[in-house]
Amino acid sequence: MAKKCSHFPWQHLIGFLLSIVLTLVALWAGLYSGFSMTIIIVIIVTLASVQAIIQLFMFMHMTESSNGKHQTHVMIHSAFIAVILVAGTIWVLSYGFH
């Protein structure tokens, strides 16, 4: 373990910098870009998804396993919860308010 730790954590640094850049781009799109609302939302959601993937690979040890069994399990479960959260929220909050 000790040997592994002494390496410089390049992955973490790159992931961290990319996350900051993506967040700043999203902030710029929201505040200063002047695009229409739809385009801004598309940009922000795309950037957020890219950032989630970057974080999964750079920080969350997605590639570190002898087989991918645990990872597959966790990802399916997370996707299930995420769909419930997002789709459920839109469904609940948009119906009945016409």
Binding site: A2, H77, I81, I84, Y95
Partner: protein, 643 residues
């Protein structure tokens, strides 16, 4: 800001609280200095990473919070016993029901259960500590300082008063100005860090650190319930974190996520709050189910009936818990399809829960039942919890819910499930594991008095509330008229509340009495236990097990007792243990300072606190601390001392 805005002034109750806080603090400092205990406190407790000590600290903090939440409850009962009474002003009453709810759920129920989990689960799976002992200390201290931040609100700055659910726009900047609501947001945010870390910590501990032979279907039921609870925590708590952050941004930085103006969506708060909130109620009930399973099986002296059915029903409860949240706001006015969907999923939860109830009953069937205090709490749980569950199904019917919504019917329902579920389990678990924690049992005679007073008081207090609710009494009102006709039942409820208070005082007296006079426990197995925590010595050595036990089936320790042959081989090896650290408490103090700064919008203080947090993270990153080994001769010496 002037000093009389900083401190809460003008209320005799608050002055009494000020005085008691000052005197208690002086008293504690005096006792610690007089008996020269400062160093002991620091090196044995405040810096500890030992799961047993962290568990005990969680429980002590939770009992203190139970006291505070209980005093809030008694004040509320005093105020609404008679119509038109003026013990509390309306604002003060609002503050008290807000802090009562928040404290009981976040700072009492969860920490109490996490305390029992911390103490018992590593022992049950034959581990020497949790997977991340340092993180465990961070969990405890962030919880503790989050709780302290929330609690000082009633003497400094004013308490939150928008209910424990803090619905916007009431909880927003315009309708709840001042620091009160900020305390709620920051206190919960800081304590939430600790809960999330506990979730990760115990998930890894249970998956990776079980004794050899303990496959996942040989785990004790309390460990199973903990595993499922931790998965719920990991998926539910980030939602609360986000919701709290959105409201914090709205209040402190003028964003419009949840405001009425400028495109905000107030209902989004309710939606996110209950997406967390419903799994949260299972986070506090599933460990309770686990505790009852252990106790009923131990004192019925039988293996738990329907082990696999128990596990599967918990898994389905956990799964369903994520798709029922809208039943908390049926009256929002979503269309019939939405309400019907959530109505049906909610009712479906009664099925796995019913399976569990029958499994406990069948465990009791033909058992040689031994009535102890722990068992009494567990037996009382079954009928009382069923009453709460059945009224829950009534509330689940969306159409009927328009009638029950926001009345005392609902108040009674959730107290029936949370008290006879979670609180009974906390007490039962405390009686059950107490000998393992402190080396002596709690007195049974006082324990039974305490049980009967509390249990009867609980029913006298909350059963009439169903009828108050059906009579139309809304929750969260600070007064009512004689003409409303709610006086009689409110008097009955208050009498019940007094019974519960006496029951609680007797429990505390029992702790004192047993500490002074109870017979010391030396066997390590006072209840003829079935799981591994009873196989080690009492008091538990810091490394838990000199030799990691081998597990050959369910109820591992019962098997060992029946077949003692395999216990012979005693060859000690050096034991690897983690070092204690002061960083978790320093980091949490920094969180507290930062949180306090944000509450009052003193940015310099908030930034200073966050720099402290970052400094501690940085120090920890360069800390190559691999723990230490306990040499074989020391293990031998400690093991000999028990003989």
């Amino acid at each position: 800001m002037k000093w009389d805005e900083f401190f809460v002034t003008g209320d005799p109750f608050i002055y009494a609280a000020d005085a008691s806080i000052v005197f208690t603090s002086i008293g504690i400092v005096f006792v610690l200095t007089y008996y020269k205990k400062w160093k002991w406190l620091w090196s044995e407790w405040l810096t500890t990473v030992d799961h047993k000590k962290i568990g005990i600290m969680y429980i002590i903090a939770a009992v203190l919070m139970l006291f505070r939440g209980g005093v809030d409850a008694l004040l509320m009962r005093a105020q609404i016993t008679a119509p038109g009474s003026e013990i509390l002003k309306s604002q003060h009453y609002n503050e008290i029901f807000t802090t009562h709810g928040t404290i009981m759920i976040i700072f009492m129920a969860m920490p109490f259960l996490i305390g029992l989990i911390n103490f018992a689960v590593p022992l049950q799976i034959g581990a020497r500590d949790v997977a991340y002992p340092y993180l465990n200390a961070v969990s405890f201290w962030t919880f503790f300082f989050g709780a302290m931040l929330f609690n000082i609100s009633f003497v400094i700055g004013g308490s939150p008063s928008a209910g424990w659910t803090s619905y916007v726009p009431l909880a927003g900047e315009e309708l709840s100005p001042g620091p009160g609501q900020n305390y709620y947001l920051l206190g919960l945010q800081i304590a939430g860090i600790g809960t999330l870390l506990t979730g990760i910590n115990f998930l890894v501990t249970i998956l990776k650190m079980r004794a050899p032979g303990m496959s996942i279907i040989r785990m004790p039921m309390f460990t199973w319930s903990t595993l499922i609870t931790m998965i719920l925590i990991i998926f539910a708590f980030p939602v609360l974190t986000v919701a709290l952050a959105l409201m914090t941004f709205d209040r402190l930085f003028g964003s419009h996520f949840l405001t009425l103006a400028d495109g905000g969506l107030p209902m989004l708060w309710l939606n996110l709050f209950w997406i967390w909130g419903h799994p949260e109620v299972y986070i506090v009930i599933l460990p309770a189910f686990g505790i009852f399973s252990e106790i009923i099986s131990t004192f019925a002296r039988k293996t738990l009936f329907g082990y696999k059915a128990m596990v599967w029903s918990m898994v389905s409860i956990a799964g369903l818990s994520f798709i029922v949240w809208v039943h908390h706001f049926f009256t929002m006015g979503a269309n019939a399809v939405v309400n019907s969907f959530f109505s049906i999923t909610t009712m479906a939860i009664a099925i796995p829960t019913g399976v569990k109830i029958f499994n406990w009953l069948f465990t009791l069937y033909k058992g040689r039942i031994k009535i102890t205090s722990a068992m009494l709490w567990s037996l009382a749980f079954i009928p009382n919890f069923t009453i709460g569950g059945v009224t829950g199904v009534m509330l689940a019917m969306a159409a009927a819910d328009y009638q029950y919504h926001n009345t005392y019917f609902l108040v009674s329902h959730f107290h029936y499930v949370l008290i006879s579920g979670t609180v009974f389990a906390c007490f039962a678990g405390l009686y059950f594991w107490y000998p393992k924690m402190f080396g002596h049992r709690l007195n049974e005679r006082i324990g039974k008095w305490s049980f009967w007073l509390f249990m009867i008081g609980f029913n006298v207090c909350f059963f009439p509330m169903y009828f108050l609710g059906l009579d139309g009494m809304p929750r969260r009102i600070y007064t009512y008229e004689w003409a409303d006709g709610w006086f009689d039942l409110n008097v009955v409820a208050t009498i019940g509340a007094i019974g519960m208070a006496i029951g609680f005082v007797l429990l505390i007296y029992n702790i004192y009495w047993s500490f002074r006079y109870a017979e010391r426990e030396t066997t390590g197995d006072p209840w003829d236990g079935r799981t591994l925590e009873w196989s080690t010595h009492t008091p538990v050595p810091f490394y838990n097990f000199a030799i990691i036990p081998e597990v050959s089936g369910l109820d591992a320790y019962s098997r060992m007792k029946r077949d003692p042959a395999q216990e012979k081989k005693k060859e000690y090896k050096p034991i690897h243990m983690p070092n204690y650290s002061g960083k978790p408490i320093f980091m949490s103090v920094a969180f507290f300072i930062s949180g306090f700064g944000l509450v009052f919008e003193w940015w310099w203080m908030a930034i200073l606190g966050l720099i402290g947090v970052l400094a501690m993270l940085l120090l920890r990153s360069f800390d190559y601390d691999d723990g230490y080994y306990v040499p074989v001769d020391e293990v031998e010496r400690i093991e000999k001392s028990y003989e």
